[in-house]
């Protein structure tokens, strides 16, 4: 494997970044972005209903975190979940078909955008109640601790959820019992329309576990390698029995909170500034170019990703609606 880039622009020590690794993260991030753009389009065509929260802008977080996870680790998040599912390795077809409410969706069309799961890839949702996934993710970590299986629960939540009471109930027990959980706070600066500063008495979210003695650090969530480095430190801490760890990811969502949010609470200039100076995909693309990766090779990935996404779109439109008999299934498990 050829040693390639150093992230010269971020100044981070990336002595062992291989070209293959760069290409892998580039592909995964582009997949999320193209997928989400198409989801937005399908929403615009009326093929996706209800709420649809896009992950565009935050791709480096899910991809960088995933790079530090091992088989058996669990992932759980809130309602802005499409990126985590793709990063975890779920089939884009099943995710897109769930968005369109079709039988081929990962929840057979019964869950929708905010409620998808996949045990095979360790993805435990997809939760629509803000903050609930923090206690649930701590429970996943409890199961790892109970079984002493060496697995870690990656529990994601946003800067908005960071003010929910159960987050701190969970922090307390996780540290008390030294549960193997990494709390990933995706700070995209806005809880729907309320900026962090307008909702939080303290804005350094990495220190939200300080009163419980939980270590935390703030990470550039737009730099996939910074995310991955931090993820490895945090996962090692949790895996070695030292308990929970908090990573505050400084990131940004380009789109509104949901599809119907025009995002009037922030200026166009602010969004444009992030898009042009901090974009996570541009960042890794620059690294690829610096590593001497040919433009054709990058274009080939783009084309490949586009084909995957279009295949998912096609499947999501042609997969039938759930059979009416599905209405009454999956309410109880047969004893």
């Amino acid at each position: 494997m050829a040693r390639a880039a150093k992230a010269s622009d971020s100044g981070k020590k990336l002595s062992n970044v291989s070209k293959d690794e760069l290409l892998k993260y580039y592909r995964e991030m582009v997949l999320i972005r193209r997928f989400e753009e198409r989801a937005g389009q399908l929403y615009g065509m009326g093929l996706i209903g209800g709420f649809c929260h896009l992950y565009i802008g935050q791709e480096a977080v899910a991809v960088g975190m995933e790079a530090a996870s091992k088989d058996g680790d669990q992932v759980i998040t809130g309602y802005r979940d499409h990126g985590h599912m793709l990063a975890a390795g779920m089939d884009p077809k099943a995710v897109m078909a769930e968005l369109t409410g079709r039988a081929g969706g990962s929840s057979k069309g019964k869950g929708g955008s905010m409620h998808m799961f996949d045990i095979a890839t360790g993805f435990y949702g997809g939760h629509g109640i803000v903050g609930a996934q923090v206690s649930l993710g701590t429970g996943l970590a409890f199961s790892d601790y109970y079984r002493q299986n060496g697995n870690v629960s990656f529990t994601y939540f946003g800067d908005g959820a960071a003010n929910q009471g159960q987050v701190y109930e969970s922090f307390n027990m996780a540290q008390l019992w030294k549960l193997p959980v990494v709390y990933v706070i995706e700070n995209n600066e806005y809880a729907m329309g309320t900026s962090l500063a307008r909702a939080s008495a303290t804005v350094n979210l990495s220190q939200r576990g300080a009163s419980f003695g939980i270590p935390g650090e703030t990470v550039d969530g737009m730099d996939v390698f910074a995310v991955k480095d931090a993820a490895e430190r945090a996962a090692e801490h949790a895996r070695s029995g030292k308990g929970p760890y908090i990573l505050e990811m400084k990131t940004y969502r380009y789109r509104g909170h949901s599809m119907s949010d025009p995002a009037k609470y922030r200026s166009k200039e602010e969004v444009e500034e992030v898009k042009t100076t901090r974009d996570p995909i541009d960042h890794i693309k620059t690294m690829l170019q610096q590593a001497g990766v040919a433009e054709d090779e990058i274009k080939a990935i783009d084309a490949d990703v586009k084909a995957i996404v279009l295949e998912a779109v096609e499947f999501a439109q042609t997969s039938p609606e759930p059979d009416p008999s599905e209405l009454f299934t999956d309410i109880y498990t047969e004893a």
């Binding site: 753009e37 369109t100 799961f117 701590t138 970590a141 790892d144 009416p324």
Partner: protein, 449 residues
């Protein structure tokens, strides 16, 4: 070529104003680029391109009002997007009328649920409800390492009501876990552990405190199997005392039976005696679904006889005829079964032969047993400790009216807590809760005596 369509920007948008184009014919555009601004009745929104390519034509001029969703507004050269035809087909599929809903799965006949039968002469043993609950947990914990108990004061203190006495000693602190006072947190941790395949028993010191945790019981546990298309199972028991205690006033005396029995995805059990307590709790722990198990503080110290057999398990979903009779059916659950039995004794002395049904399972309710009884007695009185409106009695009465209307010789009557928060004063408290006298009066009313 690829058409760019007028997008819907909210769940309710049907048309909008194309206020501004940010591109012109001949421009090369890329995915994610803002190409236009659209005004809806709510807001002005930016539209991003999804396809890359060269703009071949602008089909709708800037400033056009009332542009219907999905109208082509611009055209790109090249590009290999979903063709308009595909889009159209998909839209037709999306608006195709749904087929007639099929009958509920409940229509599928299921094998009849029966209580285990014990031969004549099976030895009986006297045990309190408290110890029966403890034994049930201990037996299931011996049987399955995935079962653990978590809650406030369950370990070192031996349980706030001493229900978990001795469990820490036998199973250690890995499986009998004291929590901080943090209901929402530990109900969530239990729910998450259940998603990962463990079988938690979550004890609430009382169900009054479970209101802080009800989001996890309903949103996280009851609904997840459905939301996940059958992938995520939650084998978890939420248990603890429910209903009125003595002189603890409004916030510590509430019966939540109807709240939980309202929710699909939950099973809801309410034991009366020691046999119910042991047999149903064992069944609840083994059940692969979330179970709400409603105990009663004022029953914990009561002794009953139970069959002295190994592995005594009762079926979920099966009511018990606690006392056979022919004149009136009384349905009751939990502590109220005892009240109903006492009322039946008094009434027997006056020549009224009452049948008492101990519901035991509130969801799924054993409608068949209730209907069969009413068809025999032609009269119904429901008894519950909770409030009347939208209560368990209301549900029982509705089912009986729907399925045995012609068998009724009198309108069903409900006995329940008065429609006020629980007062503290002894005399007021006594007036609020159901009593043997109130039940006797109701039975006489439906028998016109």
């Amino acid at each position: 070529m690829t058409d760019i369509l007028m997008p819907a920007l909210s769940p309710t948008m049907e048309e909008g104003t194309l206020s501004k184009w940010l591109i012109k014919v001949g421009d090369e555009i890329s995915a994610g680029q803002v190409i236009a601004e659209i005004e809806t009745d709510k807001a002005t929104m930016e539209v991003e391109a999804v396809d890359e390519g060269k703009v071949e034509a602008i089909l709708v001029d800037a400033g056009t009002e009332g542009v219907k969703v999905n109208t082509p507004i611009a055209r790109l050269e090249g590009g290999a997007s979903a063709s308009p035809a595909t889009v159209q087909a998909a839209l037709e599929a999306a608006v195709a009328p749904a087929a007639e809903p099929v009958a509920a799965a409940a229509a599928v006949p299921k094998p009849e649920v029966r209580d285990p039968e014990f031969p004549e002469g099976t030895p009986m043993v006297k045990i309190t409800v408290r110890d029966a609950l403890r034994d049930a947990m201990a037996e299931e914990m011996r049987r399955d390492d995935a079962v653990f108990l978590m809650g406030e004061e369950v370990a070192q203190y031996q349980g706030a009501y001493k229900v978990s006495r001795g469990l820490l000693e036998e199973f250690g602190d890995r499986r009998v876990i004291d929590t901080p006072i943090t209901e929402m947190g530990f109900a969530g941790i239990g729910s998450g552990a259940a998603m990962a395949g463990l079988k938690p028993i979550i004890e609430f010191m009382t169900f009054n405190f479970a209101m802080q945790a009800i989001d996890h019981i309903i949103n996280s546990s009851a609904k997840t199997l459905y939301m996940s298309g059958g992938q995520i199972k939650s084998s978890i028991v939420f248990r603890g005392p429910n209903g009125a205690a003595a002189r603890v006033a409004a916030q510590h005396s509430q019966d939540y039976s109807a709240w939980y029995a309202n929710v699909p995805g939950l099973k809801v059990l309410a034991p009366y005696d020691a046999a119910d307590a042991k047999g149903l709790l064992k069944a609840a722990i083994r059940d692969p679904n979330p179970v709400v198990f409603l105990e009663h503080e004022m029953m914990y110290g009561n002794e009953f006889e139970i069959p002295d057999v190994e592995d005594f398990v009762l079926p979920i979903g099966k009511a018990k005829i606690q006392r056979a009779g022919k004149d009136v059916t009384i349905t009751a659950h939990s502590r109220m079964v005892g009240f109903a039995l006492k009322a039946a004794e008094q009434l027997a002395a006056e020549g009224i032969d009452v049948e008492v049904i101990n519901l035991r399972t509130l969801r799924p309710l054993d409608t068949a047993t209730i209907i069969a009884s009413v068809k025999k007695t032609n009269r119904l009185v429901t008894v519950e400790e909770g409030w009347g409106p939208c209560g368990i009695g209301a549900e029982v009465a509705a089912r009986v009216v729907a399925e045995a209307f012609d068998d009724l010789d009198a309108p069903p009557l409900r006995v329940h807590q008065e429609d006020v928060p629980m007062p503290y004063a002894a005399n007021l408290e006594a007036m609020v809760v159901p009593s043997v006298e109130k039940i006797v009066k109701a039975v006489k009313a439906v028998t016109y005596r």
